[in-house]
């Protein structure tokens, strides 16, 4: 299809879609409306179960099944990336070269590493109380490890990042969520029921029943998943080369012939 025809089809489509969306916008409740029946119920139920962060209550208690699906999408995407970015038959593996890092950068990144790691874990642990939780904290924790890449070089990162362990951790996080779900079933309630643990005292670490447990499972899965995911992309940039490619050249660039 030539460019002109595509533009015509596209513009017609955009005009029609725009009309539909705009007409709908004017029929929506006014921005800032007081009409939030589901939200009001969700807040009530969250407080009844001693969960200060009501968003966490929605994610890990009331609609925990959504979060199971969401976690699984991440799990599936990581597995998919592992498969898609594997070393193909016509590619080879090269050792990454050591890199020189400016001293201030090195110092700053090395100081930041433990701080970031602790911050990530803190965010996971306080998911039921304050904004954050397993997803956010897990990403922060995974980022911490990669500061080593910035501070030293890729080989240093590889030494503290045994991918096999992280892959198992990824799967274990996924499995832990599923097991906590089954625990609800075995306790005589239903799948993912937040009734197996006491709901604790409002606004303390031990509140929310299974919410902190599910947050921990997610935190573990996300941290490991992000490490594995980034490793696959970094390997492509640093370690995997096509045939006839110069050492140090980047695979994945379009220019090579």
């Amino acid at each position: 299809m030539n460019r002109r025809l595509r533009m015509w089809v596209l513009l017609l489509g955009l005009a029609g879609t725009a009309a539909v969306l705009a007409a709908a916008a004017f029929r929506l409740p006014a921005f800032g409306t007081d009409f939030h029946p589901y939200g009001d119920r969700a807040v009530r139920e969250a407080l009844a179960r001693q969960t200060a962060n009501t968003v966490a209550a929605v994610n890990f208690d009331q609609r925990a099944f959504d979060t199971l699906g969401e976690e699984t999408i991440l799990f599936a995407a990581v597995l998919g990336t592992v498969v898609l970015l594997r070393q193909a038959r016509d590619e080879r593996h090269v050792e990454p070269a050591p890199a020189d890092v400016a001293a201030p950068v090195r110092r700053y990144a090395l100081v930041l590493l433990p701080v970031t790691l602790v911050a990530g874990l803190y965010i996971v642990a306080h998911g039921q109380l304050t904004p954050g939780g397993g997803f956010q904290g897990g990403v922060v924790a995974a980022t911490a490890l990669h500061l080593l890449y910035i501070a030293v070089d890729y080989r240093a990162l590889e030494r503290i990042r045994p991918l096999g362990v992280f892959e198992v951790g990824d799967a274990a996080g996924e499995a832990a969520y599923l097991v906590i779900g089954v625990a609800g079933l075995l306790a005589g309630s239903s799948y993912l029921a937040n009734t197996i643990l006491p709901h604790g005292t409002f606004n303390t670490l031990s509140s929310g029943g299974t919410v902190p447990l599910l947050n921990a499972a997610i935190g573990m899965e996300v941290a490991c998943a992000v490490v594995v995911l980034l490793a696959r992309f970094l390997d492509q940039a640093v370690e995997i080369e096509g045939e006839g490619e110069n050492a140090g050249g980047n695979a994945g660039e379009g220019e090579r012939k």
Binding site: V9, T17, G69, T72, V83, Y191, T195
Partner: protein, 587 residues
């Protein structure tokens, strides 16, 4: 027993987690056996819930049963249709895992379990999508099956076409999913609910529909029809199905695309069928337009393919169009017919893809021209291929023929003609391939056309080119075709499918006669099968039929493989949906 319902999703997920964790320690045989066992266990669970527990099986996950009619939780609403689809998905996954037993040359290093794990995740996504009664949860599982499907499509990363097809698939389907999510946001703001039934009730309580309801309908249907590959949302499908590994194609064409039709039906019946939804005339007009368009484009494009998997992919587009027509009639008889048709089609199409895979692995080609007369020794595969072609064409007593006959009866003469023609052309194309490839009939076709995907020089998917076809690869298509036959032959199956469809469709007050064979339906089935055979015969006798300058070239040029084109058509399709449905809300 209702509490067991979430396990239909959780079991395959657990299996996938196990396979990923243990995949580097266990040999490939163990990983594949575990995958098969988990898929079988899930199939057993869904069949148990289907057969032994009174319908509908309703479960509020986490025990959030509604108080005063409201809940904050997620409901799984599994009537017989939903459980039947979940069982179909699970059985087909099992068939695929058996078919792909030691299929791929080698799994990624230290990841022996990655292919069965991805297939189990796919199964979980599809089961979750059919069982859920919550709109946002449906989006989540919709995305899950999407993500897994993109990765599986690009699985053979050494193949240039495979990664391109996977990317196109991913971009177009993700765009559809985001449109769907916008629609969910609109409905949430209007009703403050996410459970589909509660949304429907809230819309009805509010009275006649307005622009917001229309927009929500259009956006939800955009996402679902992209998945169902209705024209003009269909462009991704042939690109993805032509290149995905064969076992994956069996799942994509056999059930995933049909889930788009299922989702459309579910969303219409539970949300938009009431007085606050979209009026039936508008829905009929919309679905019939998309259905007829898909059936026509799919059938024509199917006929002019030489890449056998791409040919089968276009036949899926055509048949999905027929399903949309049957659904759009909004008659209980037609709905029952379509349910049977989908069931039969799943077996037949999966079997045909399985046979195409055998060709690919045996001869390193999937091109009708190149394979001309090269496969006379594969007698059983030839029989399967011919039987599959006849079943697609609607030869009684296959389940496809029964579904087609029942729907035709409800559809009236004009639409019945569409059914006959489309099934004859798609079945005829398969018979033509059979005659040329296995029988070597007719002169070898000349290689000329420019605007097409050929299937020459394809990498076999197995370790090396097969010299002998493994028994598992031959047993699976046989079993699938036998299943499609049983759907048409066993009276208990057809009455059960009929009543499941009646139960699921909204507003069925009079229980109609269960689907059955009628003399007229039999006759039309035989007619379309004969027409298919005649078309195939004509084609092999006159190979110049597919010469390079041709009236169909403009249509073929639209299938350009260009992501930008496909996105433009998707947006245009959304606008078309709006134009067709708008009269329903104008007062």
């Amino acid at each position: 027993m209702n509490h067991l319902l979430p396990l239909a999703v959780a079991t395959p997920l657990m299996g996938a987690a196990l396979l990923v964790a243990a995949g580097r320690f266990v040999p490939r045989v163990v990983a594949e056996a575990v995958g098969g066992a988990v898929a079988a266990a899930t199939a057993a669970l869904t069949l148990y819930l289907l057969l032994a527990v009174p319908s509908p099986v309703i479960e509020w996950v986490g025990g959030w049963t509604p108080h005063h009619g409201h809940s904050v939780g997620i409901v799984l609403h599994a009537d017989h249709l939903a459980l039947g689809m979940a069982a179909l998905v699970s059985l087909l996954v099992l068939a695929v895992l058996v078919y792909s037993w030691r299929y791929f040359d080698e799994p990624p290093r230290k990841h022996a379990g990655s292919f069965p794990a991805l297939v189990l995740l796919f199964q979980a996504g599809m089961c979750g999508f059919v069982l859920t009664g919550d709109l946002f949860n449906a989006f989540v599982f919709f995305e899950l099956m999407g993500v897994v499907a993109y990765a599986l499509t690009g699985y053979r990363v050494e193949a240039a076409k495979a990664v391109q097809g996977g990317l196109t698939f991913g971009v177009v389907n993700s765009l559809g999913a985001y449109a769907m999510l916008l629609g969910i946001g609109l409905l949430y703001s209007r009703t403050g609910e996410l459970a589909m039934r509660h949304i429907g009730a809230a819309l009805d309580a509010r009275g006649a529909p307005d622009a917001l309801v229309l927009a929500a309908f259009v956006l939800l249907l955009t996402g679902l029809l992209v998945k169902a590959a209705a024209v003009p949302f269909h462009f991704w499908l042939p690109d993805a199905h032509a290149v995905a590994p064969t076992p994956v194609c069996m799942l994509l064409s056999g059930v995933m695309v049909e889930l788009g039709v299922y989702g459309t039906a579910r969303v219409y019946w539970t949300i938009f069928a009431g007085p606050g939804g979209i009026p039936p005339e508008a829905v009929t007009r919309t679905l019939l337009t998309f259905g007829v368009l898909s059936a026509a484009v799919g059938a024509v494009m199917c006929w002019y393919q030489r890449h056998v998997k791409r040919l089968l992919a276009f036949s899926t587009v055509a048949h999905t169009g027929l399903f949309l027509i049957g659904l759009g009639l909004l008659k209980p008889e037609a709905t029952g017919g379509i349910a049977l048709y989908v069931l039969g089609h799943a077996g037949v199409k999966a079997a045909l893809f399985a046979c195409a895979g055998i060709l690919l692995d045996r001869y390193g080609s999937i091109d009708e021209y190149e394979l001309h007369g090269r496969a006379p020794e594969l007698r059983l595969t030839a029989v399967y291929f011919a039987a599959g072609g006849l079943a697609l064409a609607g030869l009684p007593p296959f389940g496809t023929a029964l579904g087609k006959a029942v729907t035709e009866e409800a559809a009236g003469p004009w639409l019945a003609a569409v059914f006959v023609l489309v099934s004859a052309v798609t079945g005829g194309a398969v018979l033509r391939v059979t005659a040329r490839v296995f029988g070597g009939f007719g002169p070898a076709p000349a290689d000329d056309a420019e605007c097409e995907t050929s299937g020459e020089r394809e990498q076999p998917e197995t370790e090396q080119q097969l010299t002998r076809v493994p028994d598992t690869m031959l047993a699976v298509p046989g079993a699938l075709l036998a299943g499609a036959l049983l759907v048409g032959v066993v009276p208990a199956v057809r009455s059960a499918v009929g009543s499941a469809a009646d139960e699921a469709a909204a507003g069925v007050t009079v229980i109609p006669v269960p689907p059955h064979w009628s003399a007229a339906g039999m006759l039309l089935g035989v007619l379309s099968a004969a027409l298919a055979a005649a078309l195939a015969l004509l084609a092999v006798r006159r190979p110049q039929h597919t010469r390079s300058r041709h009236w169909v070239d403009p249509l073929r040029l639209l299938h350009s493989g260009h992501i930008g084109d496909y996105v433009a058509w998707t947006v245009a399709g959304t606008a078309l949906l709006g134009a067709l449905a708008v009269s329903g809300v104008l007062r």
